[in-house]
Assembly symmetry: C3
Homo-oligomer: 202 residues x 3
């Protein structure tokens, strides 16, 4: 089990935010307490589980109990406090953008370290960031939001590509992570403020 480094703390904050987003969607669909916790758990950890399955290691979500605990407690708290969570919409969006940046960047690096070539590692990194939201939407009977509108996955993908490029020129890992995650975060926030969307077919 890794010590409680700044990176791990940031990771756990990202997981808490994703769990709250999953739990909020589940409450809106009138799922019961178990359903809310389950959807919150998978919204928070589903992307990382996919990543670990693809790189052939036991998913960290099952191996390090702190991840599961943070996801479960946050989802349970959201079940109780969901009106408050809904009022915090802006805070949740900001933290979600931060979580996205962190997840795609660390996902890409873990895939590279497992020997996956750069293009594949970027796709796995992006799936780490959007996989939880995909599972959340599938479980609650929605076509995934990330496929329909807004610049979300594309912001994540840029983070993957930049961290892979910075790593290829042997920049130090903490610097690469900080730069690429910040880039993703800023792009995502600008996209929200300016209401940017990807085009749909004419």
């Amino acid at each position: 089990m890794a010590p409680l480094s700044p990176l791990l703390v940031a990771d756990l904050v990202g997981i808490a935010v994703f769990a709250a987003s999953g739990a909020t969607a589940a409450v809106a669909k009138r799922l019961d307490l178990f359903g809310v916790i389950f959807v919150g758990f998978l919204a928070a950890l589903g992307g990382g589980i996919m990543r670990d399955v693809f790189i052939n290691v036991q998913p960290f979500a099952f191996v390090d109990w702190r991840y599961a605990l943070v996801a479960v407690l946050t989802a349970a708290a959201t079940f109780r406090l969901h009106p408050t969570v809904s009022r915090l919409r802006w805070t949740v969006l900001v933290l979600d953008a931060a979580g996205l940046g962190l997840f795609v960047v660390t996902g890409t690096l873990k895939a590279l370290d497992a020997g996956v070539p750069p293009l594949g590692a970027c796709i796995i990194g992006m799936l780490t960031g959007i996989g939880g939201g995909l599972v959340r939407d599938l479980l609650t009977g929605e076509i995934p939001t990330v496929l329909r509108r807004e610049i979300y996955a594309v912001a994540g993908l840029l983070g993957c590509v930049s961290v892979a490029a910075l790593d290829a020129v042997h920049l130090q890992r903490p610097v690469s992570i900080a730069l690429a995650a910040t880039l993703t975060f800023v792009l995502r926030m600008v996209a929200i403020r300016r209401n940017w969307s990807a085009p749909t077919a004419s």
Copy 2:
């Protein structure tokens, strides 16, 4: 291939019941013969496939032909005999509760044996029990039942926790399995009789 022990027979009975439940849902959605068999197969074996993917072994569902054969034959028989299966609703509920108890308990033990720590092993054990039903509902276009009502997954989770606890104090495996599976079974039956449900958010 394991010899035909009492545990394997019980496992196969559980698989047959889950396959019948999946096939019944598929018939209700007017799927064709292939669809009914496919949904039955995944309802029966999807939970175990998830478990084996997470602990990084080739899924038993593909390795031991008896599992696939029982699932396919039961689903095909349900396709023909579905009015009879529907009349057996109470029998199916009882056998399903028994299958749940068995799957969560053996799933937890397999995860522990693969080196997954107790909390993660319990989550994997629960997924072994509810995973097939999740896949069945997703394939037939429903929000998973297990997330919406009734004490089902929670009964399974208690079975996981108890078998992990009994195993930690080095009780003999057959005794641990029998105790924890029975606990799950009884809790699930009482929940059905008393119409217990998990709470939904207010």
Copy 3:
């Protein structure tokens, strides 16, 4: 990375067709450019990803960049040219049948080579062929077509069984592949022309 053999070229053609089919479904659901590419990618490569997860290797879709590139470019082109792609319906059906034949046969052989027994290898082979379409339909909020009508998966399954049988009698691999893929292709085309469907329950 494998050299550009005839088999690989055929594989890439199959992937392009599956990507076009996924992208067309995504355009019809009004997904944005990212969603169209993402669904196209998974429609083309989802079956192979499942296969590789089940036989415990890193998915080729992430390891060999040519697969991802062909899928992404085809999906992007379909986003632009979807009226043309729709007019090519018959061409797409023919190429799709060819892709199905190829994917199920190579999927079965890869599973056999990974030590999976014949029955399980056939199921994995079939999943390789139909998995992408399953994911495409789940992501676009549909009950999977393959479960509802037409002889599609069954044609694939016959290809799996024949290639496993031919391989068991030690026929040369290229001959086995050609025979079994052709059988699947012909059966699928006849099923389309004669409008064959699997039965539904009465």
